[in-house]
């Protein structure tokens, strides 16, 4: 048993014979901002749907906040807030009425609590206006307000920046960091914006065609030994020399080299200078999450039973 806010074991979901999620094991430790990545149709939204008890798993177990979602959904979701892509509200009602409606399903939520979250998200002046008059950014803030109503310990955000302009995306990112910092929430974030995930998340999992193909710290991904950029007037001559001396294993794009195991950039510079090759610069190319993600998804997902 674990006290992790999200603990999925051997989770599987099949829609009409087509597997959407396969053998998914995932643990989100308390206090983390966890990123769930993957292309469209990778199974992220289905996984989130199962965590919230909206999609029934075909097999496996889902524990949220220590409770099994399938058998004890009410208890499991008591301290969970969620936001979906393009949040939808009752447009013909005011923001306040929308929050009142949603709070009625969240246990005993007082008017004072509603006022508190409205102030927290900065909607106080417009909360009595009809939602149809709200901008995308205001809707996103209202979505955040409804997610905060039950004083959550866990926040599940499915594409929270979807449809927002750059300013809105920045605002949402700052808000997520603020929620994590000030309220100490555990946050699970599903997003297509790799830059956003890189800036926000401490840990990520990547899904491909229903399978988890990677799970690890974002810092590990960024620190992973990648390519070295070599700037020289004679790139071909330099790489031929380096390869013949066993310092590199590959060269590409007229500027990148891959160091052989156990070799360093200092050795590369020393050899090139000693051989009178004009070196203008050599530096480690830090791998971005985007590089890592795109390279990873070039490989096909594991085949069941192999």
């Amino acid at each position: 048993m674990t006290d992790a806010p999200i603990h999925l074991t051997d989770l599987r979901k099949v829609f009409g014979g087509r597997p959407a999620v396969e053998s998914l094991d995932l643990t989100v430790p308390r206090g983390e901002i966890f990123g769930l990545l993957g292309h469209n149709g990778a199974g992220k939204s289905t996984t989130i749907g199962m965590m919230l008890g909206q999609v029934w798993p075909t097999s496996g177990s889902i524990r949220v906040c220590g409770h099994d979602v399938t058998s004890n959904r009410q208890k499991a979701l008591e301290k969970v807030g969620a936001i979906f892509e393009s949040p939808v509200f009752y447009d013909y009602l005011s923001g306040w009425r929308n929050l009142d409606i949603l709070s009625a399903y969240s246990g005993a939520t007082t008017k004072a609590r509603i006022a508190e979250v409205v102030e927290w998200v900065g909607l106080t002046g417009r909360i009595d206006s009809k939602v149809r008059t709200y901008s995308h950014g205001m809707r996103a803030r209202l979505a955040l307000a409804q997610a905060l109503l039950p004083k959550p310990e866990l926040l599940i955000l499915d594409e929270p920046s979807d449809g927002l302009d750059p300013e809105g995306i920045h605002e949402m990112r700052e808000t997520i960091l603020r929620l994590h910092r000030e309220l100490g929430l555990t946050i699970m974030l599903s997003s297509h914006l790799l830059n956003e995930v890189e800036q926000l998340c401490t840990r990520i999992a990547i899904m491909q065609k229903g399978h988890k193909v990677f799970e690890g710290q974002v810092s590990e991904v960024k620190a992973a030994r990648g390519r070295v950029m070599l700037k020289t007037a004679d790139f071909n001559g330099a790489t031929a020399l380096l390869q013949s001396n066993g310092l590199i294993t590959a060269a590409s794009e007229g500027r990148f080299i891959v160091l052989a195991p156990g070799r360093s950039t200092a050795e590369v510079i020393r050899l090139l200078v000693a051989s009178n090759v004009p070196v203008e610069g050599v530096w480690q190319h830090e791998q971005t999450l985007e590089d890592f993600y795109l390279n990873l998804l070039k490989t096909p997902p594991p085949v069941p039973g192999k």
Partner: protein, 278 residues
């Protein structure tokens, strides 16, 4: 908490314009029928029929009689349309719009959510019938004097009674009309719980009612009339009879209440096993 959830469900229901389409249509239809009754041969034909049956037209061409005359076609034609329109929206529209996903992030059971919605639907049915009856009587009173109630529907009801008793029966019959309307709402609500569009839920429910009407009107099926719910919808006219056939009224009401409960249970079961996705 249940009361708060119900109150909010009513806010949602009565906050949208779509809910009032039925009320608006009823008002227009009533005005049109009232004008037709007063300014065409309809009134003189009705007076002749009263005279032919030995009743004084001056006593029975009244607000109560005209209100019932106005109600009959509206209940047959318009009420199923608007009751199923609202009933079909309850779950399917929220599912289509995406608000259902937002609600189902909350720690509320699906059955509880449906129960709140279903009760809101029954309240809507009651309000629809009350407004329908109230406006019919109100409009009729503007154009006709107060007087006795005369009801004649061939093969279904024939009675004449003084104004006081007529008013009591008129009001009493609305209880049965409310059960009819809630049955229509419940059937559409049931289909709405399946994975279908709101318009589809309304059309399927209307089709079901239409098939009942057609089957019931085929002479071969006369002996099976009890199996058609539209047959039981006539209860409201039976309580205007003299004397009231209580055994049949009671039987029909039990069947309609059972249909309401069954529709809710079937809908809840379908909703419970459904995956709610965007």
């Amino acid at each position: 908490m249940f009361v708060r959830q119900l109150r909010n469900e009513l806010w949602k229901l009565f906050g949208k314009k779509r809910t009032y389409i039925g009320f608006g249509a009823f008002l227009l239809a009533q005005v049109a029928m009232l004008m037709a009754f007063k300014f065409t041969r309809w009134q003189s034909d009705f007076e002749r029929m009263l005279g032919g049956n030995g009743y004084l037209p001056a006593e029975f061409i009244s607000a109560l009689t005209v209100a019932v005359v106005m109600l009959i076609p509206q209940i047959i034609l318009l009420m199923p349309l608007y009751a199923t329109l609202v009933g079909g929206d309850f779950v399917a529209k929220e599912s289509e719009d995406g608000t259902l996903r937002m609600i189902l992030c909350r720690p509320i059971s699906r059955v509880r959510l449906l129960l709140v919605k279903w009760i809101a639907g029954i309240i809507f049915a009651g309000v629809l019938v009350a407004v329908l009856g109230g406006t019919a009587l109100g409009f009729a009173r503007i154009a006709f004097p107060w007087g006795g109630l005369f009801v004649m529907v061939p093969g279904q009801a024939f009675s004449a009674m003084p104004a006081d008793e007529g008013l009591q029966r008129f009001l009493f019959s609305h209880l049965f009309l409310a059960v009819n309307a809630s049955t229509m709402v419940s059937i559409a609500f049931m289909f709405s719980c399946f994975n279908m569009k709101p318009a589809a839920a309304t059309i399927v429910a209307l089709s079901y009612l239409f098939i009942n009407v057609v089957m019931e009107s085929i002479p071969f099926f006369e002996r099976y009339n009890d199996f058609f719910i539209t047959h039981h919808f006539r209860c409201w006219l039976l309580v205007l009879e003299n004397p009231v056939p209580w055994a049949r009224v009671f039987q029909s009401e039990v069947i309609l209440v059972a249909v309401n409960i069954t529709a809710f249970i079937v809908g809840a079961m379908a909703f419970q096993v459904r995956d709610i996705k965007s």
